[in-house]
Amino acid sequence: MSQSQTLPLKRHQDENPRDDDSSDIKPSRLKISLPSEDSDKKILIKRVKDVGICVPIVYGTIAFFLGRKASESQSHKWTVYVRGASNEDLSAVVKRVVFQLHPSFNNPTRVVESPPFEISECGWGEFEIAITLFFHSDACEKQLDLYHHLKLYPEDESGPQNTKRPVVIESYNEVVFPEPSEAFLARVQNHPAVVVPRLPDGLNLPSPVPVEPMNDKERGDTKDHPLNHWFLNFSEADELLKLAAARQQVQAHIVKLGRQLTLMEGLPQSKQPSG
């Protein structure tokens, strides 16, 4: 097993729970489960165990102050969106996104059926936007809810707002499918938007069936999105480094205290110099 892969991708090999299946042949990796959205037709879905895949996403808002063009009721123009974390096309996984805006908006329930999954509006107030992701049926029947607070005004209230500089709030997250269906896995195993661990040997997936084609737009990625130079960069490296450093510190403390304890345990009646 190569050590070059990062920790998460090795999961399938190392972290099998100790059930009897691990040494068996391929069929045992598959589980049969019954959806019952429609209870009349019982469709058997074959799922792949221990191959959890995830889709890194970023969602958030970008808000521009309208400056001269601003009115009482419309001081800002903002966009709320969901994008792939590295600007990949999410439509392979996400079928549609529903943005629930403040009731003061017309038709506050905005449905977006194709990428880019975003809504642009004008307004004056900050509120919480509910973003619901609906996935393709082979991926997941259940929806996933996200929440984001729309921010129009920058942290430092120094002087008038700059129309050129928007207020950008983005959140990174990962949508995890712990046990994807065979069909889904076959379809997305090489898709750039999806993180797939190394598949176990002997896993035979069916040939992928493409889902409903997108609308007239050919590409659903956001690499050339007009706002993409405002997109934030989310690198796990920094956070990993910081965490590793913190862990080292804590481990050192633990070792020191451990030594102190063993010393103390040897001598019940003496007073130790406090460390």
């Binding site: 997250n173 345990e265 001598l267 019940p268 009646q269």
Partner: protein
């Protein structure tokens, strides 16, 4: 003054043989027996008890008897005996009247009614390839003699048969006879052996299982308990998620009832991974959280992290959790990771666990220090500063202490003077002696 009187000492004279005479009477008068002897009285400490335990004056009194009771040595017979044995015993005779009735213990001679079958009945209903007629007769005879005490019967049985075999034969015969003799099947339907016939294999299994349980080593017991706790926890978790599933089902139209129908063989997370019993609780929490996460079709990484953090916080109190969060902040780590990838979440979780360990260690060290100082503060009645204490501390300990102190100095830059000041008085006292 009284003490001197008691001792027989006069103010101006030494105790002499003359005074001995005087000393005795006062001592005697101190006795206060009142119905109990002096030795017994001394058992209470020589002083009258605070509460009157028994009224001493009552002890020597005899209960009032209006009748004339004599005891006579008389013969008796026992109706429980088959022979005509005459024995003798003491009999309490009141006013010349003998007690009547049978020997008082005769009523305890109970025995079991064993059925008797005729040869004819044997030929008709009771033949069995495994049992000869002689053996069956012998069995029933022993049953009669020993009141169905099968252990004894098994021991006495001429050919070696197990208790279960004997029981099986006896009960089958009984059953067959009862069924044959009953006028209708309804008559004896309530008889216990008809309702629940003896099941040999079940009995043997049961006894084997019992002996296994009895002979389990402590380690096995512990492991079994762990497995049971684990199973219970997973079952509860599954119930809880089933309940939430069903409530969502009512709300959302496209809720997935797949989960409830899913067979989950892999979900029995075995604690066989666990070596030490102390580790069971933390890994059990994680395992069940992981299991419940796996049951979701889709979830957010942050949600998973929250669940795992909650699981590991479950054993800690509110204050500890706050301290963990404070420590995270001090270390410059976000309480919720900014880029929650799988790796980052794993590291974050591990860091939290390590902080918990660290905090626990800190607590332990504090307790030990508190213990140590309370020991020294005269819990054994010795004054704290007694040089005697210090001599028994070998000098090597001081060096050990010194070393630790120096290590700290290197790390934290503590000044040397405080530790040295501690040492000097000790060393002086040691050398004094």
């Amino acid at each position: 003054m009284d003490a001197k009187d008691i001792l027989g000492l006069h103010k101006n004279s030494f105790p002499s043989s003359l005074d001995n005479k005087k000393s005795r009477p006062p001592k005697e008068s101190q006795r206060k027996p009142d119905g109990i002897s002096r030795e017994v009285y001394a058992l209470t400490g020589g002083m009258p008890p605070l509460m009157p335990s028994i009224d001493a004056s009552q002890l020597k009194k005899k209960p009032p008897t209006h009748e004339k009771v004599t005891w006579q040595w008389l013969p008796f017979t026992n109706s429980a005996r088959k022979d005509d044995l005459h024995l003798y015993h003491w009999v309490r005779v009141v006013n010349g009247v003998l007690p009547t009735g049978d020997y008082s213990f005769a009523k305890y001679n109970k025995s079991v009614d064993i059925i008797k079958y005729t040869d004819e009945e044997y030929e008709k209903y009771l033949t069995d390839p495994m049992w000869t007629k002689e053996e069956t007769n012998e069995l029933f005879d022993l049953c009669e003699r020993f009141d169905l005490r099968f252990v004894v019967i098994a021991d006495r049985f001429p050919s070696s048969r197990t208790v279960e075999e004997l029981k099986d034969r006896y009960y089958s015969v009984l059953r067959a006879i009862l069924l044959a003799r009953a006028a209708s099947s309804g008559d004896i339907a309530t008889h216990p052996i008809i309702k629940e016939p003896y099941n040999v294999s079940q009995e043997m299994e049961r006894k084997r299982a019992l002996s296994m349980v009895l002979s389990q080593t402590r380690q096995q017991e512990k492991r079994d308990e762990e497995v049971l706790i684990e199973a219970k926890r997973i079952a509860e978790l599954r119930m809880a998620s089933k309940v939430t599933e069903q409530s969502q089902l009512a709300v959302a139209s496209n809720a997935d009832a797949e989960l409830t129908e899913r067979a989950v063989p892999g979900e029995t997370v075995s604690p066989s991974n666990v070596q030490l019993p102390q580790m069971v609780v933390p890994s059990a929490d994680n395992a069940s959280t992981l299991a419940s996460l796996r049951m979701l079709r889709v979830y957010l990484r942050t949600y998973a992290l929250e669940q795992m953090v909650q699981a590991s916080n479950a054993t800690a109190g509110v204050r500890t959790i706050k301290r963990v969060e404070q420590t995270l902040q001090d270390l410059g780590v976000n309480l919720k990771p900014r880029v929650p990838t799988k790796a980052v979440c794993a590291e974050h979780l591990e860091l939290r666990r390590e902080i918990l360990t660290w905090l626990n260690l800190q607590k332990q060290v504090q307790y030990k220090e508190a213990e140590g100082s309370s020991f020294r503060d005269g819990s054994y009645g010795e004054t704290p500063g007694t040089p005697k204490d210090r001599t028994f501390i070998p000098d090597s300990l001081n060096f050990g202490g010194e070393r630790v102190g120096k290590k700290d100095q290197k790390r934290k830059g503590h000044g040397a003077p405080p530790t040295a000041a501690h040492k000097r008085p000790r060393k002086q006292k040691a050398s004094d002696l």
